[in-house]
């Protein structure tokens, strides 16, 4: 007896969608990118100057990592609600914890160079939570959650106190920013760090990971081409790719006030952060005021530049 083979069925054509934010390719039928939560059906809004506005993650959107999920809830101060599978874990700064199931175990994560962290004002305690179970986090300011999926071995540099949560596949490290200047008032000298003394660096291990940041206000991202540069308010920096170099940039205004600068103790100036591509740079629209007492600058970091208008 001869078996008759069924006629070949046409392969269903599936429409795929490439997320403009994280580059992940997903089924076009979804309403948000499963890797970073960016809405699929919202056109990328880019300003004339080249900044792309990060589309707010839609209320109740889900992001998948490993066997676990993160659901984003709320609009003004969004909550990251994690459903951790057994074996999956996250780490976070402990004051961000909003609520948790009883069975989720939390413990402190050992951090190297604790004394330096203590003196630099960095969080001394990094807390880790292990699945299975649910745990949720939020920050204490109105703004946006930024989900940064990290491919294997990919790194990103994050300004201090911006970090919220990372999955256990992501390695946490930190480095000196090298952005500083010293002012002199009589015999007193004071060193200022416009973006902090240290910066966090997150690197995915052999497997991809997920990093969640919080931006105050709205968040804007741009991709700098090799050699392309921009100056920004130092406290507005959120994150950058490690390939983006940075240095301090001082500008002195022209006109009457600028003319008095060499003779006066008080000097009118703008303190900027100069960033040079290639790579991504993200800024937040609501940033804290940067303290600058206005005293004469005694010295600056070696790569600092200045301009007199």
């Amino acid at each position: 007896m001869r078996m008759s083979m069924p006629p070949p069925q046409p392969t269903p054509t599936t429409r795929s969608y490439r997320c403009p934010w994280c580059g992940h390719t997903a089924d076009a039928g979804t309403t948000s990118c499963p890797k970073c939560g960016a809405p699929v059906d919202v056109r990328k809004a880019t300003t004339d100057s080249g900044w792309a506005e990060l589309p707010p993650i839609r209320d109740m959107a889900k992001i998948q990592f490993g066997q676990s999920f993160c659901q984003i809830e709320g609009k003004y101060v969004p909550v990251a609600d994690f459903k951790l599978a057994a074996g999956d874990g996250v780490y976070f700064t402990h004051h961000l914890l909003l609520w948790k199931d009883e069975q989720v175990q939390i413990s402190s994560m050992p951090l190297a160079k604790g004394w330096k962290r203590l003196f630099a004002g960095l969080p001394l305690i990094m807390t880790q939570a292990q699945g299975p179970g649910r745990i949720a986090f939020s920050k204490d300011a109105a703004g946006e959650l930024i989900a940064l999926p990290l491919e294997a071995e990919q790194s990103v540099d994050v300004r201090e106190h911006v970090f919220m949560i990372a999955t256990s596949q992501v390695v946490y490290d930190w480095f000196q920013t090298g952005i500083w200047f010293t002012t002199q008032n009589g015999k007193d000298r004071e060193t200022h760090y416009p973006i902090g003394m240290f910066m966090d660096r997150f690197t995915a291990g052999p497997t991809p990971g997920l990093l969640l940041l919080h931006g105050n206000g709205n968040v804007f991202v741009r991709n700098l081409q090799p050699g392309q540069s921009i100056v920004i308010r130092p406290t507005s920096l959120l994150f950058k790719d490690p390939a983006v170099s940075m240095n301090l940039h001082l500008e002195y205004p022209g006109g009457m006030y600028g003319a008095f600068r060499p003779w006066g103790r008080w000097s009118n100036r703008y303190v900027w952060l100069h960033l040079r591509g290639p790579g991504r740079v993200a800024v937040q629209s609501h940033s804290e005021h940067m303290e600058d007492p206005g005293f004469s600058i005694h010295s600056t970091e070696p790569m600092a530049t200045s301009r007199q208008w």
């Binding site: 809830e73 003004y76 969004p78 909550v79 909003l98 948790k100």
Partner: protein, 269 residues
């Protein structure tokens, strides 16, 4: 009216006429799906700009979305009470009084509002808090008791009895993140309206009897009086002076529990 021509509100249980787009009792949009997370937290209904809520012979209109304003049109027999610093503006003919409060010295020492003001109709008066967040409209039915974090209530109708309850247990007082007292609102013989301001976004879940969840104490916003709160300390070791303790609140049902997502302590004075 024919009961079949009414729409029941999922948030407060109130009934509104057919065709209404928001609940007349709490302002919750009736034509928007409930937003419930997989973990069981329900988002407080996002009140539509300019939506109206009725209580007694008065109307509350909610204006704005980032720092919403509650604008009250008081009927002739109605009054509302509030902490004096949340008053935004009022008609000149709206009468102002101070509510007599028991335990004034205790309240002053505990940092609770020492002066609670009363505005009486007729006329218009408006209120807002000093941070981005949401208004939570809680219609109170007779015999309903609600405990609210101190400095979280925006205004309340005069039919509701306002008192305070001392938080039990020294640990709860020291590490509960809200001092010694909580506001307690009890609707007695008549229904009333309580409006809170939650910082950031507000979420609610209904705990079954004996069910418990662990929350950051600063995130607690309100609860039914049947929900109990106990502080537990999670030890985190760092190698520096033995580490620190992290204080978390175990909330145990039955009843509703409301939390806010922006739980940094905000000074309002």
């Amino acid at each position: 009216m024919d009961p079949l021509q009414r729409i029941a509100c999922d948030w407060c249980g109130g009934q509104s006429p057919a065709g209404a787009t928001s609940c007349v009792a709490c302002g919750a949009p009736l034509n928007v799906k409930n937003l419930v997370s997989d973990s069981g937290w329900r988002e407080a209904p996002r009140l539509r700009d300019m939506s109206e809520v009725k209580f007694g012979s008065s109307i509350c209109q909610v204006e704005g979305e980032i720092v919403p304003v509650a604008e009250i049109t008081l009927g002739g027999r109605d009054s509302i009470f509030f902490e004096h610093h949340v008053l935004l503006w009022k008609d000149s003919n709206v009468r102002m009084d101070v509510m007599p409060l028991q335990g004034g010295i205790k309240r002053a020492l505990a940092g609770m509002p020492f002066v609670v003001s009363i505005a009486s109709g007729e006329g218009r008066v408006a209120f807002s808090r000093d941070a981005a967040g949401e208004l939570v409209v809680l219609p109170l039915h007779p015999s309903m008791e609600m405990d609210v974090r101190e400095h979280a209530f925006l205004l309340c109708s005069h039919t509701v009895n306002y008192s305070y309850t001392r938080i039990a247990g020294l640990r709860n007082i020291l590490f509960g993140g809200q001092g010694m007292f909580m506001d307690r609102f009890v609707a007695q013989n008549e229904p009333g309206l309580l409006i809170l301001h939650g910082y950031g976004n507000v979420f609610e879940r209904r705990l079954a009897a004996g069910e418990s969840i662990i929350v950051e104490p600063g995130a607690f916003l309100y609860k039914d009086s049947s929900v109990t709160m106990n502080i537990e300390t999670q030890k985190l070791t760092t190698g520096f002076f033995g580490g620190v303790g992290m204080n978390l609140a175990r909330m145990t049902g039955p009843g509703r529990l409301g939390i806010q997502s922006m739980y940094h302590h905000h000074h309002t004075d």
